[in-house]
């Protein structure tokens, strides 16, 4: 979806907010928000891509007003209601209507440490041969899907060169909407900064973007 999260190339956000000796978390609530979001994800009611899409679905006004962890906790409420884990009434009152009926205990300390250790690899076997080879010149398609996509606006319609092939990876555009993993070949495409941004860019500079097979066409 074309929204504010897709901010590559925008002007006006000011200098980089640098901080000496930055703590891992600035406030206890940031750490709690991170942990709540991760622990709730372990129910398997949504995946990483659906979680990212929940952040993107915040209105642009809200997205820019909320800090990073506020987005996490705000979209956690949305995800939990959509997944049927919480009711609107419970969100409004802040009181649980009773115990959940999922038939198992929530993930425990040992469980979350296992998740951190093992991760959730996104690589998948793909039957089709890769359409593109290293060195091929390709063009990123110029599409504006209303749902989740990982093709940034600034690359759409631009020509680039295939520099890496990562094998098959599940496809975020379907996965985020619970429409299946639909794995595709994933490549790194190198775009000239001049092609992306015009004559003010240094002629040597490039931007490398990881793009799925269906984001690309031969050029």
């Amino acid at each position: 979806m074309n929204s504010i999260h897709d901010m590559g190339g925008m002007h006006g956000f000011g200098p980089i907010p640098l901080e000496e000796d930055e703590p891992v978390f600035h406030h206890d609530w940031e750490a709690r928000a991170m942990a709540l979001r991760m622990a709730m994800g372990a129910w398997g009611k949504w995946n990483l891509d659906a979680g990212r899409h929940a952040n993107e679905r915040l209105s642009p006004q809200q997205y820019l007003t909320l800090s990073y962890y506020e987005r996490w906790i705000t979209s956690l409420a949305d995800l939990s209601v959509e997944a049927g884990l919480l009711s609107m009434d419970e969100i409004r009152t802040g009181k649980a209507s009773g115990q959940h009926d999922l038939g198992r205990a929530p993930i425990n300390a040992e469980g979350v440490l296992g998740v951190l250790r093992n991760g959730r690899p996104s690589s998948r076997a793909v039957d089709a041969l890769p359409r593109f080879q290293i060195g091929d010149v390709v063009r990123a398609v110029n599409e504006s899907p209303e749902g989740h996509t990982r093709l940034p606006r600034y690359a759409r319609g631009r020509r680039g060169k295939v520099v890496l092939h990562h094998g098959g990876h599940l496809f975020p555009d379907t996965h985020a909407h619970f429409l299946g993993e639909c794995p595709q070949h994933l490549y790194t495409i190198e775009f000239s900064s001049r092609d992306l941004w015009g004559s003010r860019a240094n002629e040597r500079d490039t931007v490398m973007i990881d793009l799925w097979d269906s984001y690309l066409e031969p050029a």
């Binding site: 999260h5 897709d6 901010m7 590559g8 190339g9 002007h11 956000f13 000011g14 980089i16 907010p17 640098l18 901080e19 891992v24 978390f25 600035h26 406030h27 206890d28 609530w29 750490a31 709690r32 928000a33 991170m34 942990a35 709540l36 622990a39 709730m40 372990a42 800090s67 990073y68 506020e70 884990l85 802040g94 649980a96 205990a105 929530p106 993930i107 300390a109 979350v112 440490l113 951190l116 250790r117 991760g119 690899p121 690589s123 990982r150 940034p152 600034y154 890496l164 990562h166 990876h169 994933l186 900064s193 240094n202 040597r204 500079d205 490039t206 931007v207 490398m208 990881d210 793009l211």
Partner: protein, 222 residues
């Protein structure tokens, strides 16, 4: 880290202490602190989260999973050319063999800075970052300013970090749009031939592994 004396956000955490003793607003937790507390209470009451799991997650990222892991990998790559070659060929396998792949570090590609090329990493669409080897991303990495600007004006952004890249050197910006996480291998600091791997690791900074900084130099060795 108590929230009871703060009601601010990430960008303003320096100027509220003078409110102590007044009853204006400084005794109340900040609005996000209240909302997070409300969610935690609700989810715990409903039996949806185990408080021990939350504590374990926070402890892991607060105390164990951080840039010191990436620094070990980089130091070894400086010290051992065969390891470096393998790391550049298949970082996921090499880092997995060291026990450091994991959540948000399932697939890793290492890219090396050279005399000709400087690499820098961003995620313009959210804030993807190699958590399993660098820990929680710093606030600047997650900021709108960094995410929007480093792709269009990498040299301007790097100069704000104190890094001036010669115009003849190429800057490669890696926008992490998929689940591949990028580790920058910075150039080894000069005059470090005599150092052990452990000493080398102490020179490798977090920012140098994202591409927004350089490793410390010899005089800065602790």
């Amino acid at each position: 880290m108590s929230d009871s004396h703060h009601h601010d956000d990430d960008h303003h955490h320096d100027h509220h202490d003078h409110h102590h003793g007044s009853l204006t607003h400084s005794l109340l937790p900040s609005d996000p602190a209240l909302r997070v507390k409300a969610m935690e209470t609700l989810l715990t009451q409903k039996g949806l989260v185990d408080p021990d799991a939350l504590d374990a997650l926070i402890d892991a990222y607060q105390n164990r999973i951080g840039p010191q892991i990436g620094a070990k990998i980089v130091a070894r790559s400086w010290h051992d050319p065969d390891f470096r070659a393998e790391l550049l060929r298949d970082a996921t396998k090499v880092i997995g063999d060291m026990g450091f792949t994991g959540l948000q570090g399932e697939h890793i590609v290492a890219v090396e800075n050279t005399d000709e090329v400087h690499n820098v990493v961003v995620c313009t669409l959210c804030s993807c970052y190699p958590w399993s080897i660098l820990g929680i991303p710093p606030a600047w990495y997650k900021s709108e300013a960094y995410r929007s600007r480093v792709v269009i004006d990498p040299r301007g952004v790097l100069s704000e970090f104190g890094l001036d890249i010669h115009p003849d050197k190429q800057v490669r910006v890696w926008d992490s749009t998929a689940e591949i996480r990028y580790l920058v291998i910075p150039q080894r600091s000069e005059n470090t031939e005599e150092l052990s791997v452990e000493q080398l690791a102490s020179l490798v900074t977090r920012d140098s592994m994202v591409g927004t900084g350089l490793p410390k130099i010899m005089g800065e060795l602790p």
